[in-house]
Amino acid sequence: MSVLLQESLNGLALLGAGVGAGLAALGAGVGIGKIGGSAVEAIARQPQESGKIQTAMLIAAAFVEGVALFGVVVCLLIYAK
């Protein structure tokens, strides 16, 4: 019985890791998508400023991505355990 419980708990942990990685990717996708969309809009309005906009876009995307990657690393740790 306890073996069965242990197995199902391990399975749940893996499920949690998978769902967590998915959610992290979802959040990052929404965030980076919004940044990219706004950057393209801004460049369309002011093409001469595209260099500055791209830099700002990359920085913002890096922060969003960083948070998502924290999530992914936690999921990877659960998987590797």
């Binding site: 830099t55 920085i59 890096a62 960083g66 992914v72």
Partner: protein, 351 residues
């Protein structure tokens, strides 16, 4: 010197071309047993005491790296990792033994009870680090010497490849973020960290290359250097903003204090995690596509693998330079926020 320069360009061109031949060479070794994709991927992104390049038929082309063990009882032990043999007498890093030491899944243990040993071997990652170190040294010292000798002449050879990149880092990263007056002091670090990360990312994409920037210890060292550089060169203004943020009401200052103090550490921490996770994730994705061949064991998977693998390889070439750029940019911003004199622009810098 001239011939070295000639070869470095060849190597650089190879760096751009080689990643596409990933599949056929890298994964042949795992056909024998029942295929475990997770195991194969973890083996390829991890560190090792041998540098395995390719298996043709049944012959392995492997570089056995030196093992250096500090043993508090005996002193330093130094021998080749080819000495770790299994019961058939073949070198084996999964379960081999040599003298007082056994190796199990690339971890060296002592056969004696309660003996602590310190493994400071030249592993695959260290060897790759030395390789990239020598590559960087040869390329950039030759470029620097030419700038010193002929400061006003047009760039030649490998110099013309790197000059626009160096100029970009100076004009777009160092000068605007650190300021015209102070940027020169931090420029060597920014350029070094940029080219170090970029070169190692590319070396990691070569089939058989080590996954150096996808090793969290390496990215941690880089992040710690940025952390030290930021906090040791910080001025009064920076510490005032952290401990007693001006321009906000008193209760808010008390709340902001712990957030800002934690912020000192989360910034380099996110640098570390970002580089590690991006590079590791890229390798895992490429290896997963290659692993599909062995999971399905059918020719019909080949087009899928080739197309997606090629796409991801191109993507990784871009990510290689993007992550180097982002690490440099964010390092510059953290240093810039620490050495900034005036107050007005504090909110522009991301926390």
């Amino acid at each position: 010197m001239q011939s070295i320069k000639k070869y470095t360009l060849t190597i650089l061109v190879l760096l751009l071309v080689v990643p596409f031949s990933y599949g056929s060479e890298e994964t042949v070794e795992i056909e024998k047993k029942a295929f475990n994709a997770g195991e194969m991927i973890m083996h390829h992104i991890g560190d090792s005491h041998e540098w395995h390049f390719v298996t043709i038929g049944h012959s392995h082309i492997t570089l056995y790296l030196p093992v250096i063990i500090y043993n508090p009882e005996k002193g330093i032990d130094f021998f080749s990792s080819a000495n770790f043999v299994d019961e058939h007498g073949h070198p084996n890093m999964h379960h081999g033994s040599y003298g007082d030491y056994i190796i199990h899944n690339d971890k060296i243990h002592s056969t004696k009870e309660h003996a602590t040993i310190y493994d400071i071997s030249i592993t695959k990652n260290v060897a790759s680090l030395l390789l990239s170190f020598s590559l960087l040294t040869v390329i950039f010292i030759s470029i620097a010497l030419r700038y010193k000798k002929h400061p006003l002449s047009a760039p030649k050879g490998i110099q013309s490849f790197f000059e626009p990149i160096i100029a970009y880092i100076i004009d777009e990263v160092a000068k605007p973020i650190l300021g015209e007056k102070k940027y020169k002091k931090y420029l060597p670090y920014l350029l070094t960290v940029f080219f170090f990360i970029w070169f190692n990312n590319l070396l990691g994409l070569i089939p058989g290359g080590a996954n150096l920037t996808g090793n969290i210890a390496v990215t941690m060292v880089l992040a710690v250097i940025t952390f030290l550089l930021t906090n040791l060169s910080a001025n009064k203004n920076y510490w005032k903003h952290i401990f007693w943020t001006p321009g906000v009401p008193l209760p808010l200052r008390v709340i902001l204090l712990p957030i800002e103090v934690v912020g000192i550490f989360t910034k380099p921490f996110s640098l570390m995690i970002r580089l590690f996770a991006n590079i590791t994730a890229g390798h895992i994705i490429i290896l997963s596509f290659i692993g599909l061949i062995f999971i399905f064991n059918s020719l019909s998977m080949a087009p899928v693998t080739i197309i997606f693998g090629l796409f991801m390889s191109f993507m990784e070439l871009f990510v290689a330079i993007l992550q180097a750029y982002i690490f440099t940019l964010l390092s510059a911003m953290y240093i810039g926020s620490a050495i900034e004199e005036h107050h007005a622009h504090d909110h522009d810098h991301g926390h």
